[in-house]
């Protein structure tokens, strides 16, 4: 059984990883093309890969793709910024003051317990289905992980850091900006990164439920028209943008860490 043989780094795999990584997608693509060409599955169930490609090109050409992606990105940025601001404030407040935590934590936990998806219908009744709804839903999705990770990050700062700060007679503000926050940067950033991923997922949810534009709406539209090629193209864009957003956060994280280590 090859599975349990010890990895012998040089000999076991002759090809570079990138080539091996592409083998399976290539196989899938071939099977997909064959299935479409030989009519194994009707095109309403599985359009040919070329059709998905041309749907993507067409969407890009008509400007719809740019427009919808732009709308979605703007919504995510606005909601994420609002959710982060609130989450950082609450996380810092709870992290610094156990009293604040005592008061707020149970209500926060109850609030966080209901998945974002659950709040959407309630918010739809409260604020309608306009831009406000999208921002609120996306903000909620970022708010919870940012708050929790900020709180945990601040609590994890070693107490002797604060003692040194006290020795320098740092004010509260100095203590926060010069000692606590720099020391808690890594976990706070983890929270921001989770927050952005959650925001992106929340965007897709809210656009699927109530929107007339954006990438999620593109999916709904494709579904109503039974245009699977459009749907698949939209899915691909959702995946790529989600991935890029995460990469941006990862790059920022690295930058901040480098500054910290230097």
């Amino acid at each position: 059984m090859r599975a349990v043989s010890l990895p012998s780094p040089a000999a076991s795999l002759a090809f570079p990883p990138a080539v091996i990584a592409l083998l399976f997608p290539a196989f899938l693509l071939v099977m997909w093309s064959l299935a479409a060409r030989l009519g194994w599955l009707p095109p309403q169930i599985l359009p040919a890969p070329g059709e998905v490609g041309s749907a993507l090109v067409e969407l890009a050409h008509s400007g719809d793709l740019l427009h919808d992606t732009g709308i979605s990105l703007l919504r995510v940025i606005e909601g994420f910024a609002a959710g982060c601001a609130l989450g950082l404030l609450l996380g810092i407040a709870m992290g610094l003051s156990p009293t604040v935590e005592d008061y707020v934590r149970p209500l926060f936990t109850a609030f966080a317990q209901v998945p974002t998806l659950g709040w959407i219908p309630l918010l739809m009744l409260l604020v309608g289905i306009g831009e406000g709804l999208k921002i609120l839903v996306i903000a909620k999705a970022a708010f919870v992980p940012v708050t929790l990770n900020t709180l945990a990050g601040i609590r994890a700062v070693p107490s002797h850091y604060a003692e040194v700060g006290a020795l320098f007679r740092f004010s509260r503000w100095q203590m926060l900006s010069k000692v606590v926050l720099p020391a808690a940067v890594a976990p706070i950033f983890t929270g921001l990164r989770y927050g952005l991923t959650h925001s992106w997922n929340a965007l897709v949810a809210v656009e699927l439920l109530a929107s007339a534009e954006g990438l999620g709406y593109l999916l709904v539209w494709g579904r109503q028209m039974f245009w699977l090629d459009t749907m698949m193209a939209a899915m691909a864009v959702i995946g790529v943008v989600g991935f890029l957003l995460d990469r941006v956060m990862a790059a920022l994280e690295l930058r901040l860490q480098r500054w910290r280590l230097a």
Partner: protein, 249 residues
């Protein structure tokens, strides 16, 4: 004790403001129904509209999808963790596909599997599958090479090496994956009812409440979502602690 008391201040204040606002005519009662009306709706739903049956359906769907997704995830994660070839062949594709927000799969799954129960369970399965694969893969890969060597010296069979060495070593990581899968599967159950609404369930009830502008029904639904989510999370934490108990010993 004092901490617990402090924790009740805000929720109680919220409820009091809610009652005053809805009775005093400050807010349209259609937007903010009084608490007792939500309670009456709850009793009415249980007695006359089969709320418990809806809940049972949602949970059953959730559990079936969770169980299938977790089993498939354990198998796939173990193979990917053990075999470097499988890892290099399939992991990049898997990582690529999982970048697509899970809800974005719903329209495609609905077209491929119909709008009925099968499609819902397939979707819940996919939601549970992803975290289990990732964490099993990671757990199996992190099993110590020295231990594997020892096991080989002791002439363990490959099957013994997997079951006695890799899987126990991966257990804490697997437990984390299963914990996440429980949470994701519950959210996916709700999502599946939102977007493929045929058949009974709590998600369907919330959507119906929104369509008929019955805020009390929506609030009741949210309350149930939160409670079930809380119970699932608690039991998952207990399970996780129990599965990793040998580590502390």
């Amino acid at each position: 004790m004092r901490r617990a008391l402090r924790g009740t201040v805000l929720p109680v204040a919220l409820l009091v403001v809610w009652e005053i606002a809805s009775h005093g005519g400050l807010v349209d009662p259609r937007i903010l129904p009084p608490i007792e009306r939500v309670a009456r709706t709850a009793i009415d739903q249980v007695a006359n509209h089969g709320l418990l049956g809806d809940l049972g359906f949602s949970l059953l769907r959730d559990m079936i999808g969770f169980a299938l997704g977790t089993l498939a995830g354990l198998a796939a994660g173990t193979v990917l963790g053990l075999s470097r070839v499988a890892d290099r062949l399939f992991m990049p594709t898997f990582n690529g596909l999982r970048q697509i927000a899970i809800l974005a799969w719903i329209p495609l799954i609905a077209i491929w599997f119909g709008m009925g129960e099968v499609a819902k369970i397939v979707f819940i399965m996919a939601a549970a599958f992803i975290p289990v694969v990732l964490n099993t893969h990671e757990g199996v890969r992190s099993a110590s090479a020295q231990l594997v060597e020892v096991a080989r010296t002791l002439t363990f069979t490959p099957w013994q090496i997997v079951t006695r060495l890799y899987l126990p070593a991966a257990l804490p990581s697997i437990a984390t994956g299963v914990h996440l899968a429980l949470i994701y599967a519950w959210v996916a159950s709700i999502g599946s009812e939102y977007f493929m609404t045929v058949g009974p369930g709590i998600g369907g009830m919330i959507i119906a409440g929104r369509e008929r502008f019955e805020m009390d029904l929506v609030m009741l639904g949210i309350l149930i979502l939160g409670l079930v989510g809380y119970l699932i999370n608690r039991s998952a934490s207990l399970l996780e602690a129990w599965l990793s108990r040998w580590q502390r010993a």
